[in-house]
Amino acid sequence: MNRHAPRLAPELDALLEDGRVIERVPDVVRARLLSRAHATVAAVAAIRRDPIPPVRRRSGLTLALAASLALAIGAAAAAATLRGRAPSPLPPAPSAIPRTDRPAHDSALDIMPLSPTVAPQSTFTAKPHRSTRSATAQESYAAEIHLLTRAQVAYASREFTDTLALVAEHGRRFPSGRLAEEREALRVRALAGAGRTEESRRAAAAFTSQFPRSILLPRLGDP
């Protein structure tokens, strides 16, 4: 095997012998890496089963529009301030996270919804400070996420009956929750997956009328 290579010097050979020992990876690191590996496998499986539709581009466009709108509002506020009109706090940037504490709107934003998942924010009204939000609301949101995540897992596992049960539970506990739109979209897809075509069609029609601008609309027909 080594006919083309020089023989190793004894001291180098001894050093290499020492270097051949392979240390064991610490258990905590091993567990972390295996967890990441499992997550990778799950993500790949989910993507294969549920490919990301081209609606993503539209979502990007929506975000770009939202950013442009935020810039325009900021510019208008700055101009108003410079002109000496009633100064007002700068409007917050649009958030992609749905919110329930939507204050009453008194501006053009009411007639220009950014997108169904990008909730219109208050424009020139004072935004409730983060610290004033009740812990109950946050806990409620966390519970919503937890419940809908379970439903999503059940859907990904093609357990449509369980999915529908979880969706129904979410509907009972959070009838007008922040994730109602996602819940209803999941209900449509779960019904379709369970082969309840007619109910799925009715649910899709209800979803369309309730959320006519939803970015989830194109996905309702996905398997």
Partner: protein, 186 residues
């Protein structure tokens, strides 16, 4: 609903995925050791090992199960580390900057080759080798993988592998001598 997709847990994995995870678990120590021997910094080994798994998982179904897995894993780790170096070479100094300090001031200079620092000495010497020759040395002299398999894994000719091995061994011996004498720079 995209954020929900990010957080949902794994559906029941089919058999190939389970086999891939098991193989990764079995050879995780080897992957870590290989990345360190090739010069990966401690803070980046874990992420690089994860990248190795991603490649392994992607190619798992097309792997020849009759061949040993470690040469393949070595080749993947080598390429990932090289790509990582190319990406970050402008921002991050190459190699372990503390290596010279660790070896240049050993606690017992007279018996350094036999001391507990011999492993650190070898690693520091390996860091002084160019990546192409270091890979051949690590694979053949440390992992004891036959040179034909080394050439195959690194996509080079057998003659080229022998040439790198010869030159690499000379450079390694020189680096060890210099480090043992306490010369901080080659």
């Amino acid at each position: 609903m995209g954020y929900l997709r990010l957080v949902h847990s794994a559906p029941p994995a089919p058999t190939p995925e389970s086999a891939c995870l098991t193989a990764f678990d079995n050879d995780l120590d080897y992957i870590f050791a290989t990345l360190k021997r090739l010069g990966a910094a401690p803070y980046e080994v874990e992420d690089l090992a994860q990248e190795v798994f991603v490649v392994l998982h992607r190619n798992w179904r097309s792997l020849d199960t009759d061949r040993p897995l470690r040469p393949y894993l070595f080749g993947v780790a080598f390429r990932i580390l090289c790509a990582h170096r190319r990406r970050w070479s402008r921002e991050i100094p190459w190699g372990d900057m503390d290596a010279d300090n660790r070896v240049a001031n050993p606690a017992n200079p007279e018996g350094s080759l036999e001391s507990k620092q011999s492993h650190a000495l070898l690693m520091a010497a390996l860091e002084r080798l160019p990546m192409s020759r270091r890979a051949v040395i690590v694979m053949h002299d440390l992992d004891e993988i036959p040179i034909a398999e080394v050439a195959r894994s690194l996509s080079i000719t057998r003659f080229g592998a022998y040439a790198r091995l010869r030159k690499g061994r000379r450079e390694l011996a020189t680096a060890i001598r210099r480090l043992s004498r306490g010369e901080a720079t080659a």
